[in-house]
């Protein structure tokens, strides 16, 4: 803009001068001087700011100057020697373009010198390396950047309190729990994080709340209480929360692949199995404090191990990991080893925290004459509260019931063992379930035996039942047992010949989905009410790879993920009774995750109260649902009638045109009307066709 102004003005000027020139003489130089009274309203900066920027400044080059103190004080005779020593030390970092050795009136150096490098980078490097450099016993260099002097000089004498930062309110992280109709949220990922959508499962149609592209680079994960959504990026992990899913914290850990939240969402563990090629110093496991975003501790795991490597106690107080013959328990918030040493447990194979108490269950393998053993260990006092010796053990699996009332250890046992070089081969396998009654005195243990191989085991999350899938294809059965105080587990029901390989209990118990997942499962689904073992529905979602209950146990989602199948990816929503509610076929569908809920704040008494008054609530909900339903169908009907009206308007116009063209059509077909099937009555011949029908009589004996 400024330049244009100048151009305009100069052209005006030249015009006026030309006129002047015409009057005087044509050969004269035009007059470029400003006319009288002209005030220059353009500053130099406006005119040639870009040139001015390059104008050398006094301070230029100061960044490349370093000050070396502690240099020997020498007379003029030894100055040359000193210079060569100094040069030798400092020219390693870059070319020295200027030196200055201040001297007193006698020509003695003052003990400090100035060196100027060709670039500030070299100066910085020199400061970093040569500060505190020991030249000899008496002389140690103190090296500083020249600019540091001015920086430290400017520090004000009087301390001024820092200005208070304005408080930025944290968004309500738990707003979703206040949803009046208790609609749950779920997250849908398509492709490699190409699109991440947050849905609210509103009735009758779910509504999308957030839709972002490239929100994550691989997958997403909810925190265990549902407060945060975590996304994965090359640089690390990001947590999102609040009503509009704003970024809450970032944890920088390059090429992170796995994360694990502590159960109370205080800490997060990130794991980058490959590490960072550019930064080999980065540890592969890092533990962070979620609220402050600070790194609390980091580790490099030895060898491959099953994720999660670190396992948390239910209250975030402890976390533990297993090594060779050792169990290391760490405590928070110090993140140090509990009692400063690990537990030596030779032959430890697996361990698991109780979901409600600070109790660890672990098992050790057999060793020659020593039997295998399952131990319950109380933390932090490390007392063994229960031991159980087991014989002929090939493998164990530890299953805690969600409410911590029971522990089941599934034991694979053998009748014969054969050692073949490095491999151990077991034969004559049979299976035991050791049930620990955690809430009873001295923790009694019951045992259930099965001769058939076990495909799956699952505790009812709330309640005292467990389900197992056993047998070999095609004779797969599902058995349900109930555990009672002071009694051995009793078989409630056995469902025979089922096509399933996975068990999914409703989060509130009672209802269970038996699913056949994977390539040989076919996606069969069976919805069972375990109160009276009514099979509510038997159906399938072909090639289903995932089954997800919503946190309230009202809905079930089955999904075909792009990670497992190529075609027909998508998710279907069912009621807990197995009624199909919605089929969403989504190209490149990858993942669906319900947002978890915090545990209820109601106590047992209040829960009972609600259950007692269920009929009252039932009527309310029923009427609410009906209203929504009618509203939805009304909307649909309105939409349809609008479509129909529009289409009919178009059709009327076209049919009119078509009618007008009738004479031309007749002309093309020799005057025969073929517009309707029976409009041409003259050329029709009636024909009676007879068919032979084969008749056969078969006498059934």
């Amino acid at each position: 803009m400024a330049k244009k102004k100048v151009d305009d003005r100069s052209s005006q000027n030249s015009d006026s001068t030309r006129n002047d020139g015409d009057l005087s003489s044509n050969d004269d130089e035009p007059n470029f001087s400003d006319p009288e009274g002209f005030i220059d309203d353009i500053t130099d900066e406006e005119l040639l700011g870009d040139v001015l920027k390059q104008k050398p400044k006094e301070t230029d080059g100061v960044e490349s100057v370093i000050v070396v103190d502690g240099v020997p004080q020498v007379g003029p005779d030894r100055l040359e020697k000193l210079q060569s020593v100094i040069n030798k030390i400092f020219s390693k970092f870059g070319s020295i373009v200027n030196t200055h050795y201040p001297t007193n009136e006698k020509g003695h150096t003052k003990g400090y010198i100035f060196l100027e490098y060709s670039s500030p980078m070299h100066a910085q490097e020199a400061v970093k390396v040569t500060n505190n450099y020991k030249l000899d016993k008496q002389h140690t260099f103190l090296v500083n950047l020249f600019t540091d002097f001015s920086k430290y000089e400017k520090i004000p004498e009087v301390w001024k309190p820092p200005e208070a930062q304005t408080y930025v309110g944290q968004a309500d992280l738990h707003y979703y729990l206040l949803e009046p109709d208790a609609y749950d949220q779920f997250c849908v990922v398509t492709g490699q994080g190409h699109s991440v959508q947050i849905w609210q499962n509103t009735q009758p149609e779910p509504a999308v709340l957030q839709d972002r592209n490239n929100w994550t680079q691989t997958y997403v994960k909810w925190s265990p209480l549902g407060t945060f959504l975590s996304t994965f990026h090359k640089q690390g992990v990001a947590l999102w929360g609040g009503p509009s899913f704003t970024q809450y914290k970032r944890f920088s850990h390059s090429s992170v692949q796995f994360i694990d939240f502590s159960p109370c969402e205080k800490y997060i563990i990130t794991y980058s199995p490959q590490g960072d090629a550019h930064n080999p110093e980065q540890k592969r496991i890092m533990i962070w404090d979620i609220r402050t975003g600070q790194e609390k501790r980091s580790f490099n795991p030895e060898g491959p191990s099953a994720w999660p490597i670190f396992r948390w106690s239910h209250d975030d107080k402890y976390f533990a990991r297993m090594g060779n013959d050792v169990l290391s328990i760490y405590e928070t918030p110090s993140f140090g080893l509990l009692e400063k040493k690990s537990l030596k447990i030779s032959g430890i194979r697996d361990f698991s925290w109780s979901p409600t108490d600070n109790v660890i269950a672990y098992w050790v393998a057999e060793d020659k004459d020593v039997p295998a053993r399952v131990t319950l260990l109380e933390i932090p006092n490390r007392t063994e509260i229960r031991n159980k010796n087991l014989f002929n053990v090939a493998d164990c699996k530890i299953h805690w019931q969600k409410s911590g009332d029971y522990l089941c250890v599934k034991v694979d046992r053998y009748s014969k063992v054969r050692k073949e070089k490095t491999e151990t081969k077991y034969s004559g396998m049979y299976f035991n379930f050791e049930i620990f009654h955690m809430r009873e005195k001295q923790i009694p243990v019951d045992s259930v035996e099965s001769k058939e191989p076990i495909q799956a085991f699952a505790w009812e999350p709330i309640g005292s039942k467990f389900a197992i899938i056993h047998g070999e294809s095609p004779n797969i059965s599902v058995s349900f047992y109930e555990v009672r105080v002071g009694q051995a587990p009793s078989l409630l029901k056995k469902l025979e010949k089922r096509a399933c390989n996975h068990l999914f209990w409703s989060p509130n118990g009672q209802f269970i989905v038996l699913a056949g997942l994977g390539s040989n499962g076919g996606g069969s689904l069976e919805f069972v009410d375990t109160q009276d073992f009514v099979i509510m529905n038997t159906t399938d979602h072909f090639q289903a790879s995932d089954v997800e209950w919503d946190p309230t146990g009202r809905y079930v989602v089955t999904g075909v993920s792009i990670w497992k199948a190529k075609v027909d990816t998508g998710y279907w929503m069912w009621s807990f009774q197995g009624k199909i509610l919605k089929r969403v076929n989504l190209e490149k569908f990858a993942q669906l995750l319900w947002r978890p809920r915090c545990p209820t704040l109601l106590d047992e008494k209040q829960l009972k109260e609600i259950k007692k008054n269920l009929k009252k609530y039932y009527a309310q909900f029923e009427s609410k649902d009906r209203m929504r339903q009618t509203k939805a169908s009304k909307e649909l009907i309105e939409k349809r009638s609008a479509l129909m009206e529009k289409f009919n308007a178009y059709r009327h116009k076209r049919i009119k045109e078509w009618g007008e063209q009738k004479p031309r059509r007749l002309e093309l077909r020799n005057g025969i009307d073929t517009d309707e099937l029976d409009s041409d009555s003259k050329n029709v011949e009636e024909e009676i066709v007879e068919f032979f029908i084969k008749e056969e009589v078969t006498v059934i004996e």
Binding site: S633, L643, Y650, R654, I655, W658, R665
Partner: protein, 326 residues
């Protein structure tokens, strides 16, 4: 009702067509011999023997006197419907992929493949006095098609225009007086496998590999409706009596051996013409459906599949009773 299974072909069905009255059903297949059947009982009336390659396209004129077939043996043949004897034979440079009689049946159009160094071309021929000499006669019009080849072809109303569907999903309307393009639209992302007129020829439905079928105005190519599926659509037809369309398709024939019939979804799918909502499916084929057609009375429909079967389905009364609320 139990469908009639027509098993006369030894290879995949490529196209099926009813005659104007609907008493006969013509079918073509990759086994070189087009067939004609009684649509009422599924009895085979006869075959048209003479082609030496897969028959890609067929048509029958409005009087059911002549039958047209284009094949992979680089010929277009005109047959006498009554006797099943060839009347004329036209040798082309490459496979004939689409052919159609005009409304008056005085003319016919066909399109050749872009193959063997030859360009795709559209031909308009006079078939009024078709006989042995038709092979030497010059076509009325010959339109070379640059770019994407013609995969489907229809006559516009009143024999003045021609509609072509192309391999890249384009639809073009041609003026036959000048041989020039009038308009082109690209609503599909993949090859247009089939185009069929509505009963009054004011609309036509396209079937595309891009998993959709679409309804267009046949004069200005305005997109009216879209019917979405999750499989390639090979053929689509509009009911002559109700506001319904039927779509046939399924997993690509190429991938079929690796998938079960359930994954393939070889179903005929019924959509409401206006609401674009699917309301019914008919199972039966164990390969993709290559061609569907409504009986002109709208009371039955047929489908021809990659499995070599033609199935004639007569609608149950519940089909006619079913209505949408609006």
């Amino acid at each position: 009702m139990k469908p009639l299974l027509l098993h006369g072909h030894e290879r995949a069905i490529t196209q099926i067509k009813y005659n104007r009255e609907g008493d006969l059903l013509f079918s073509s297949s990759k086994d070189n011999k087009p067939n004609v059947w009684y649509s009422l009982n599924g009895e085979r009336l006869g075959t048209f023997n003479g082609h030496q390659g897969a028959v890609w396209c067929i048509d029958v004129d409005w009087t059911t006197t002549r039958f047209l077939s284009g094949a992979g043996d680089n010929t277009l043949k005109i047959w006498d419907c009554e006797t099943g004897k060839p009347i004329g034979n036209i040798t082309t440079n490459s496979s004939v992929r689409a052919c159609n009689f005009s409304y008056s049946a005085n003319m016919a159009a066909y399109a050749t493949d872009k193959a063997m160094g030859h360009q795709c071309e559209i031909f308009i021929i006079d078939v009024r006095n078709a006989d042995d000499s038709i092979g030497q006669a010059d076509p009325i019009l010959r339109i070379p098609v640059n770019g994407s080849r013609v995969s489907s072809l229809l006559w516009g109303a009143l024999d003045e225009t021609l509609l072509t569907g192309h391999e890249n999903g384009e639809i073009t309307i041609w003026d036959l007086k000048t041989g020039k393009k009038l308009q082109t639209t690209k609503e599909h992302d993949n090859i247009i496998n089939d185009m069929q007129m509505s009963k009054d020829c004011t609309m036509f439905i396209t079937a595309s590999k891009d998993h959709t079928a679409k309804l267009f105005d046949s004069e200005n190519l305005m997109l009216l409706k879209t019917y979405k599926t999750e499989r390639p659509v090979n053929s689509a037809a509009v009911s002559p009596i109700l506001e319904h369309v039927v779509l046939g398709g399924g997993q690509d024939a190429m991938d079929v051996t690796t998938t079960s019939a359930r994954v393939g979804k070889f179903d005929s799918r019924f959509f409401h013409l206006v609401f674009e909502e699917e309301f019914g499916r008919v199972k039966g084929h164990f390969g993709p459906i290559n061609s569907v057609a409504f009986h002109p009375d709208g009371k039955s429909y047929s489908s021809g599949g990659e499995d070599g079967y033609v199935r004639i389905h007569t609608f149950d009364s519940s089909y006619f009773e079913y209505g949408f609320d609006y």
